[in-house]
């Protein structure tokens, strides 16, 4: 249904191409690959010529000829011609391929261009010499005289060519080289690698000063449970002179139910967890919070990571009656979903949903930017467009499936109430249509909104998925990513660069496609899954991963700073049954972790940690676990900016407002300003690592914001409660609670001076704003 205007860009018009391409470009692509795509146009325009190479008759010279071809000709073809004349090309130009002998023999639209043995009559030679209207290669200066001479010689030799079959993905030079990429190599197994020295639990060498105990326990407590240590815990640790004092602290923290709350936040960032659909309606997905609880529980139970992934990818396939598995499958429901009124384009919407769900598999699990291959073969990574749609094909039958957790009676009552409400809305809608003035229309429009808001709240639900093979989306390679431009049909298959050529597509009759996907991703010889997760855990404890680009292990991602360490960790994860807690333990017990100063540098607490720490220090933290998400009061003006302000229904029980940040609602169209200011993710795409920015609105938030001031008051009250009017005791206690240490004499003096004229709440607020409070060393 694209109109002609978009369909047929005027020839030679740069404008036309970019406009056309943009229709397909719903999903992000890099500037780089876009530029590259846009420069394609002149190439496609000018390269209407055909260059034909004809293979020679085998002769005694063959081995010499083949060697000449391999050394002198093939590299030039690859570098200069393959982008338009091989299977790598987005669109093969002039019908000519130069990447295997048979294609060369077949030739292209202009017929033979090489006459074996006769360079003077060969179009190819004329083209590279720029003799006629053919100018090859089209976007570059003339090839060097030396190269042209080689081609002439090669044609004169009879154009020997050993490439006797059509290449496959695996044959592409891109693939050959890419397979050598470190991240696609098998993980080196335990036994082949020595235990890395940095993991030893005592200091090695002069740079490894173990940090003091107070700093260490604050560090490890924030890193493992996201909360500050209590003064009592610090004291106990400092006083404990046994050799395993630190280990005992670590084990206590790993066993804490708060461990999962801290670890889950990173995973929720990575899978762009939010509880609303975004776009204009930003509908709340009933029961999406269950996924958050599932993640926390899984980390607390130390569920094997392979099982954790499998349940998320295919929980509903594996155990359709198991609520935990169904809850895990909410994974596929977490992305933004565009729903709009009017003529909805169902196929387009389906395409958008599948695209969003496919891209997250790449960034979250494999650490690959697969999304780039949606419109064309990946320009920077060895991922073909076909690979992309084969990956998407695993999800082709996946549909939303809301499992209502209510008795039939409850459901019937709910349905009846809903029907009454909807009938009333329909009645008013008719009135609105009949109304003949704008004021009346507006009044009725608002009335309709009110009525919609009064519809009964959804019943308890698991917003899961299931397979509906009757509605299965037929998967094709979509030319330029436009759903209407259906190319070659495909079935599910792993990415070519990661499997051998003989791995076939899944049969269309496969009843558990996502289980197959999970099986591949979690197999012990998958080179990425284990590396990607151990790197994320390293990042949690060391601020940056061994691979800095935690969502990108591809060719363009950063190389690991210590590949052997990464492999050792990944191999040990797999060998220990994919359990994550032992890895956390190993890392925080290591000499590298315990160093002073913190390697590589102090870490600013995340937005959630700062809020949680202020709650904990002020004594107001409600440590309740799990359950529906909490909606706290925010500036009413911000709520007014919601399309439906009634969506921000503040949780009635105020004690809930003091719960840990992970239990606050993650709403795409209204993020708490406190979180927004302190670099919490935008909730739209996968967030691999939090930024740590510093700017004046942050200072204003922490100084003047209602949360900081409210909790500073609470902190002051706590101090009064615990220390009465004893000022020195108050100051000492305040430092110990907020910073985990006693004040220095200087600090004590300054604080006393301050408190002589200023209220305790200002003192508390100052502590909340201290660098030392906001950072963990």
């Amino acid at each position: 249904m694209l109109n002609r205007f978009f369909h047929r860009p005027p020839r030679c018009s740069f404008q036309g191409l970019t406009m056309f391409a943009s229709r397909s470009a719903i999903y992000p692509c890099s500037g780089e690959c876009q530029l590259r795509r846009s420069i394609k146009w002149p190439v496609t325009t000018f390269v209407m010529l055909t260059v034909l190479l004809v293979a020679s008759i085998a002769d005694a010279q063959e081995s010499k000829g083949v060697r000449f071809f391999r050394e002198k000709i093939e590299p030039v073809l690859k570098a200069q011609c393959y982008s338009c004349h091989s299977r790598q090309a987005d669109e093969v130009q002039g019908g000519l391929r130069l990447d295997f002998k048979a294609a060369v023999l077949r030739g292209g639209d202009r017929g033979p261009a090489v006459v074996a043995g006769k360079s003077g009559e060969s179009l190819l030679i004329q083209a590279i010499r720029h003799e006629g209207d053919l100018v090859m290669p089209p976007k570059k200066p003339t090839l060097s005289d030396k190269i042209i001479a080689d081609f002439v010689k090669w044609v004169e030799m009879g154009a020997p060519d050993p490439r006797d079959r059509e290449p496959t993905d695996a044959d592409d030079s891109k693939f050959e080289e890419a397979r050598k990429h470190w991240a696609f190599q098998p993980i080196r197994r335990m036994g082949t690698l020595a235990r890395p020295a940095v993991l030893n639990d005592e200091g090695t060498g002069k740079s490894a000063h173990p940090t003091d105990k107070g700093t260490l326990i604050r560090r490890v407590t924030f890193d493992l449970i996201g909360l500050p240590p209590t003064p009592e815990a610090i004291e106990a640790f400092v006083d404990d002179e046994s050799a395993d004092a630190y280990e005992k602290v670590v084990d206590r923290l790993l066993d804490s139910r708060h461990f999962g709350e801290k670890a889950a936040q990173q995973w929720l960032d990575v899978v762009r967890f939010a509880e609303t659909e975004g776009y204009e309606y930003d509908r709340h997905i009933p029961g999406a919070w269950r996924y958050r609880d599932y993640v926390i529980d899984s980390f607390n139970k130390d569920k094997p990571f392979d099982q954790f992934l499998t349940e998320q990818l295919a929980g509903d396939e594996i155990e359709p009656e198991n609520r935990e598995c169904l809850t895990a499958s909410i994974f596929h429901r977490l992305g933004p979903v565009r729903r709009n009124a009017g003529n909805t384009d169902i196929a387009l919407s389906r395409n958008e949903v599948l695209t969003e769900r496919t891209d997250i598999l790449g960034s979250a699990i494999m650490g690959l930017t697969v999304g780039c291959a949606r419109c064309h073969n990946h320009k920077l990574e060895p991922i073909t467009q076909k690979d992309y749609y084969r990956l998407q094909a695993y999800l082709a039958a996946t549909e939303e499936h809301n499992l209502v957790l209510a008795t039939p009676d409850e459901q019937a009552a709910w349905e009846a109430e809903t029907k009454t409400g909807k009938d009333e809305i329909a009645r008013v809608q008719k009135q609105a249509q009949a109304a003949n003035n704008a004021a009346e229309k507006d009044r009725l429009a608002r009335l309709i909104e009110d009525l919609e808001e009064k519809l009964p709240a959804p019943l308890p639900t698991i917003p899961s998925t299931h397979n509906d093979f009757a509605k299965r989306t037929a998967m094709h390679v979509l030319k330029r990513g436009v759903w209407e431009n259906k190319g070659e049909p495909v079935q599910p298959r792993p990415l070519s660069v990661l499997v051998t050529e003989d791995v076939a597509e899944l049969s269309p009759g496969e009843t558990q496609p996502r289980s197959q996907l999970a099986k591949w991703l979690t197999s012990a010889d998958h080179p990425l899954t284990a590396r990607v997760i151990v790197n994320r855990i390293w990042q949690q404890h060391f601020g940056v991963g061994l691979v800095k680009t935690a969502n990108d292990f591809g060719l363009k991602g950063e190389k690991p700073s210590d590949p052997e360490l990464l492999d050792w960790l990944a191999a040990s994860l797999i060998d220990n049954g994919w359990r994550l807690k032992p890895l956390h333990r190993l890392m925080v017990l290591s000499a590298a972790y315990k160093r002073e100063p913190r390697p590589p540098k102090s870490r600013r607490l995340s937005a959630e940690e700062i809020r949680d720490a202020m709650l904990a220090v002020s004594g107001r933290l409600n440590r309740k676990s799990g359950g529906p998400s909490v909606i706290v009061p925010v500036d009413p003006e911000l709520v007014g900016l919601l399309y439906k302000p009634s969506q921000w229904a503040i949780t009635a029980d105020v004690s809930e407002h003091d719960r840990r940040s992970i239990y606050l609602i993650a709403k795409r169209n209204l993020r708490l300003p406190f979180f927004e200011n302190l670099d919490a993710p935008a909730l739209q795409t996968s967030c691999a690592r939090r930024e740590s920015s510093t700017h004046p609105p942050q200072a204003l938030e922490l100084l003047n914001g209602s949360l900081a001031n409210d909790l500073a008051q609470a902190f002051a009250k706590r101090l009064e409660r615990e220390c009465g009017r004893d000022q020195d005791k108050t100051i000492d206690r305040a430092f110990r609670l907020a910073l985990g240490r006693a004040p220095t004499a200087n600090e004590l003096q300054r604080s006393s001076e301050f408190l002589r004229e200023q209220p305790l709440s200002e003192f508390s607020l100052a502590l909340f704003n201290l660098n030392e409070f906001l950072y963990v060393r």
Binding site: R37, A341, A438, N551, S602, L641, N669, R750, E762
Partner: protein, 484 residues
């Protein structure tokens, strides 16, 4: 591969020049990759420079004509055929089926059996340039010689949320930085006492794309917009809590600083930056309210914007805020007209007459007042003003009461100031206003032009995300050469 000259060419010339020869084009395009490598180096350097203060003012990448942008966002999509794009043939064909030769259009609500809808507006030539403007905008029409009307704009989406995302961020999906965030990232802040990227939403309510439309997306939070609230105290957290006096808070800040400094590692830039942020915050707290105080403005200025009389009071106040922000070095200001239910926006599905007469009456005088005020203060030269919505409206009628549907295939926007050559019309739609047929310009071309006027290059202004260098223009945009 590429010689230095070729690389130099990329950086010295606008990337897209229609007069180039084919050979030149090919050469430049090919060298683009080295160009990008260089761009990424430049970018790293800039990041490095910015590490202590990410908002420090930065040098433009190329010659800059403008320093600030004001976007007068007509949310919901004003009709081009009622405003800046007269279509006599549409009136002649009123009530008839759209002739087939104009081609197809995909609409949100209008169906294939719809009839064309003529306009009741009258158009008249204005100014020395003689550009036709409808009677909806008598005040704006008087500024027409400063305005470049773009009659051939187009975007990719016909639904509000996606179109609004594209208008602001170049993508039809949420999650990418808006143009305001990009400008702040590229140029830093000039004002030390005001937030540098300000959005003034319509107090009547929300828009479809919501907050993510204005947001910083993948850029660090420091580049986020500051949303102004209605009323006299527009900036959240600028006010002290009720029980605290400024003297008290000043003392608290001194105390905070003394404690921070006593435990400071002098080598730690991040800690110093944090202390600096508190200083700036305090300055904002004391200085911004003065800037934002309209009570000291002369009556003549208030009248110019229509402040104090209806229906112009609200939009007028926000336009005057915009001028004062620009005057104080604010980089990007968005003044939104429209919010809440569709008819409170320019989203005239039901009755284009009623809707557009009302919305134009609210905004025409304030918009013209802003242009005149900027001009007489010498600010128009360095301030680029952009006017428009996320799309236009359909030539086809949507309802019996004379409404129009969304329309993304051809519609009007305008630019003024900031080095834009006014008094001209660029591009054209077909005879019924269905499609941009002459010099079509996409949102990305508007983005490119804005960047260009502010001395930024779409290829150099990038930010790494998931292994890729993202940029505002997504696909390559063109500078609208006719108007720069």
């Amino acid at each position: 591969m590429c010689d230095d000259t070729a690389v130099g060419q990329i950086f010295n010339l606008p990337h897209e020049k229609p007069t180039r020869t084919r050979r030149e084009f090919v050469r430049e395009a090919y060298c683009g990759f080295s160009g990008l490598a260089l761009a990424s180096l430049l970018h790293d350097e800039q990041l490095l420079a910015a590490s202590s203060n990410p908002l420090a003012a930065k040098h433009p990448q190329v010659e800059a004509k403008a320093k600030s942008v004001i976007f007068l966002f007509m949310a919901g999509g004003p009709s081009h055929v009622e405003t800046f794009d007269p279509k006599p043939l549409l009136n002649k064909l009123n009530g008839q089926k759209r002739p087939e030769e104009f081609g197809e259009a995909k609409y949100q609500f209008v169906h294939t059996d719809a009839r064309l809808l003529g306009t009741k507006r009258t158009f008249r030539k204005h100014g020395e340039s003689g550009i036709e403007v409808s009677d909806l905008f008598p005040h704006t029409a008087r500024c027409i010689d400063d305005i470049a009307v773009l009659r051939s704009c187009h975007g990719d989406s016909v639904v509000h949320s996606a179109a609004q995302y594209e208008l602001f961020s170049g993508r039809v999906v949420p999650g990418f930085p808006s143009m305001g965030s990009w400008l702040l990232y590229g140029l830093g802040a000039e004002s030390k006492s005001l937030p540098s990227y300000v959005v003034m939403p319509d107090p009547k309510g929300a828009l479809e794309a919501g907050q993510p439309m204005y947001a910083h997306g993948i850029l660090p939070a420091v580049y986020q917009p500051t949303m102004f609230r209605p009323g006299d105290r527009p900036v959240l957290n600028l006010d002290l809590p009720k029980q605290v006096t400024p003297q008290q808070r000043r003392r608290t800040l001194q105390f905070l600083r003394s404690l921070n400094e006593s435990s400071l590692d002098p080598a730690d830039e991040e800690f110093s930056a944090r202390i600096n942020a508190y200083d700036v915050a305090f300055r904002m707290q004391t200085e911004a309210p003065e800037v934002l105080d309209l009570s000291r403005e002369p009556q003549e200025t208030l009248d110019l914007y229509g402040i104090g009389s209806e229906p112009t009071n609200d939009y007028g106040r926000r336009c005057l805020f915009a001028r004062k922000l620009v005057e104080n070095g604010v980089r990007f200001t968005c003044v939104v007209s429209g919010g809440g239910p569709g008819n409170m926006q320019w989203d005239a599905h039901g009755d284009i007459e009623e809707n557009h007469l009302r919305k134009a009456a609210e905004t025409d005088r304030p918009v013209a007042g802003l242009l005149k005020d900027l001009k007489r203060r010498g600010l128009l030269d360095s301030t680029l003003v952009l006017w428009g919505g996320e799309f236009g409206r359909s030539p086809d009628a949507q309802s019996a009461t004379g409404g129009r549907d969304h329309h993304n295939l051809g519609f009007s926007m305008w630019m003024a100031g900031g080095g834009i050559r006014g008094g001209q019309v660029v591009g054209a739609t077909d005879a019924i206003g269905l499609k941009a047929i002459e010099k079509p310009y996409h949102f990305r071309d508007i983005h490119t032009t804005i960047l260009h006027q502010l001395g930024l290059d779409q290829h150099q202004l990038t930010y790494p995300h998931l292994g890729r260098n993202e940029r505002l223009t997504f696909l390559e945009g063109r500078v609208i050469e006719e108007i720069v």
